[in-house]
């Protein structure tokens, strides 16, 4: 078989497709059924956390960027969420939220918020002041300036923030089994049951899911970039840039 030539990777791929007896005996592990179940939980958890984080952080970042104040909150204060490890948060929250989906989700939301706030703020602040002036000169209200001029132009950067969050949330969701949520982390932290094949298999699937989500967001980011901005990019010396470089401003500050 081809799989045999791949060594441990072949074994791991085999684990994804075929059930086998657990390392500790008596129970069956692996196979598409279990892998899919774990992947589905993993996706549900990651998407829920990123969505909630977006609903909280994007409006806040956009508003802060629009009024142009509290840069401290937007770019630095929110980073505390990234300084505290998610595992610590989960343990800390047990006393208040118990173990389970809510607990892990809250920990991941806190992890996901900072990049979205920062990028939303920076995206709005980065809109060409002349464009904003022109909009005001044309008689647009404050609200219209924010929603019809600033927001569309900042959207690619905001999406970039959500993308960074989603990727780190998917990677971090592997610790969820420590709080009773069976994600793809389960085979990774249970080598005595799933063996090294199961461990590697789960890692492969996490990598595929992460890359898939990332690719999807690249397309989304492209789709939400206003035509005008695309034309402007093309007109610049140096020509068109790759989509991910459009969030370069956020990288400097975060």
């Amino acid at each position: 078989m081809i799989l045999a030539t791949l060594g441990p990777f072949g074994d791991a791929i085999d684990f994804i497709f075929h059930q086998r007896e657990s390392q500790a005996g008596t129970v069956q592990v692996g196979g598409l059924g279990e892998i899919w179940e774990l992947t589905w939980t993993h996706l549900k958890l990651s998407l829920a956390a990123t969505l909630i984080a977006t609903l909280i952080a994007a409006p806040l970042g956009i508003w802060l960027g629009h009024i142009g104040r509290f840069q401290f909150v937007a770019t630095s204060f929110s980073n505390i969420g990234r300084a505290v490890p998610a595992l610590g948060l989960i343990v800390f929250f047990i006393a208040f939220l118990g173990v389970g989906f809510t607990n892990v989700c809250v920990a991941l939301v806190l992890l996901a918020i900072p990049p979205i706030i920062t990028n939303s703020y920076v995206g709005i602040r980065g809109v060409d002041p002349e464009t904003v002036d022109a909009a005001r000169g044309n008689g647009l209200t404050d609200r219209q300036v924010a929603l019809k001029v600033e927001l569309p132009m900042a959207l690619p950067t905001i999406m970039g923030g959500i993308r960074i969050s989603l990727v780190s949330v998917i990677a971090t969701a592997t610790i969820a089994p420590l709080a009773n949520v069976d994600t793809l982390g389960r085979p990774i932290i249970s080598p005595n049951v799933y063996g090294s094949a199961g461990q590697l298999a789960a890692c492969l699937v996490v990598a595929i899911v992460t890359l898939g989500a990332d690719a999807l967001f690249v397309l989304l980011q492209k789709a939400v970039t206003p035509e005008g901005l695309k034309l402007a990019e093309r007109g610049r010396p140096g020509g068109r840039r790759l989509a991910f470089l459009s969030s370069k401003r956020s990288m400097q500050t975060s």
């Binding site: 500790a24 401290f72 630095s76 173990v99 420590l178």
Partner: protein, 329 residues
């Protein structure tokens, strides 16, 4: 537009980060504390350790231990006791897992370290968990025979063993009509959830084995490493616990007896390389055996609690144990 100076902002965030982290840490500690600091342990008064003549002219003995609380405390107790008897002692008290510690002992990187009989048999000598003798004496004999082949002597075991049991809160015990043994859960377990480390759910020496041995079927398995917090928060009714966990010292929990003797014995033996044992001589060996005599399950829980809950240093906890037990003035 007002802008905060970026350096200032960075500094402020760093400070806040530290404050936040420190607060978080403190909260965790106090929430898990059961205030066992003052509780007295019933330690039988021991004989004061006498200087062994000629001990200081022998080569130094290196005492090792694995990398968790109980091992640190035990390593310190043995090391300090030998020091009190006049031996030169070096300490290597953070060797890692049993496989690393065993390797260090085999290769002479350390001369001795404490290991659990059940662990030695399953991890070093290829005994299947189900085949480990249920009788602690027999388990010790087998461990001793295994180590003997490696020119290592397993000294007699401690009175306490650190094995698995099922634990419940006092409130749960009341609700269930004060069960004393795991068998007493029969008939009620379908409505009970049980917590253990994630792997436990699918392991024959953990949940699967217990359910088979006792004919139980728990309603739900909650995977977590924070067993006592999960019991406290009500996410699980029963937990897989270790018999010498410091959290048990506070008296908040009830430990159910393993009446069918499912869990293998895990007494501690201090395992010494034969060359080093020669240097210790019978007097040194007697020091080791004496100093561990008061180490019952209760005492070991208390010592672990002093480190895990009261946040004292293992070296200090060991020193005060030796004093309280009368080995050192």
């Amino acid at each position: 537009v007002r802008r905060t100076h970026p350096l200032l902002a960075l500094l402020a965030v760093l400070c806040l980060g530290f404050v936040f982290a420190a607060c978080g840490g403190d909260d965790e500690k106090s929430s898990s504390s059961s205030g066992s600091g003052g509780s007295s342990s019933e330690q039988a008064p021991g004989q004061e350790i006498q200087k062994v003549s000629g001990a200081d002219s022998k080569p130094a003995i290196t005492v090792g231990s694995k990398n968790f609380t109980e091992q640190f405390v035990l390593g310190e107790i043995y090391a300090q006791a030998l020091e009190a008897a006049g031996y030169k002692v070096k300490k290597q008290l953070n060797l890692g897992s049993e496989l690393i510690a065993h390797k260090a002992l085999q290769t002479g990187k350390v001369d001795a370290y404490p290991e659990y009989t059940g662990t030695a048999l399953t991890s070093f000598f290829g005994v299947k968990t189900a085949d480990v003798p249920k009788d602690p004496e027999k388990a010790y004999e087998d461990t001793k025979a295994g180590f003997a082949k490696e020119n290592i002597t397993a000294l007699p075991p401690t009175p306490f063993e650190n094995t698995y049991r099922l634990g419940i809160t006092k409130a749960t015990a009341k609700k269930l009509g004060d069960p004393k043994t795991i068998s007493d859960l029969k008939g009620k377990e379908k409505d009970l959830s049980i917590t253990g480390f994630p792997e436990c759910k699918q392991r024959q020496d953990c949940l699967l084995g217990v359910q088979d041995a006792y004919g139980l079927k728990f309603g739900k398995f909650v995977s977590s490493e924070q067993k006592y917090q999960v019991l406290d928060s009500g996410d699980a009714d029963v937990a897989f616990i270790f018999t010498t966990d410091g959290d048990l010292a506070g008296g908040k929990y009830v430990v159910l007896d393993d009446d069918k003797h499912f869990f293998p014995p895990y007494n501690v033996t201090f395992n010494v390389r034969n060359e080093a044992l020669k240097n210790l001589g019978p007097e040194g060996q007697k020091v080791i055996e004496d100093v561990q005599k008061p180490l019952t399950e209760k005492v070991m829980q208390e010592l672990n609690a002093r480190v895990d809950i009261d946040k004292k240093k293992p070296a200090d906890v060991a020193a005060s144990y030796l004093q309280q037990a009368g080995f050192v003035k």
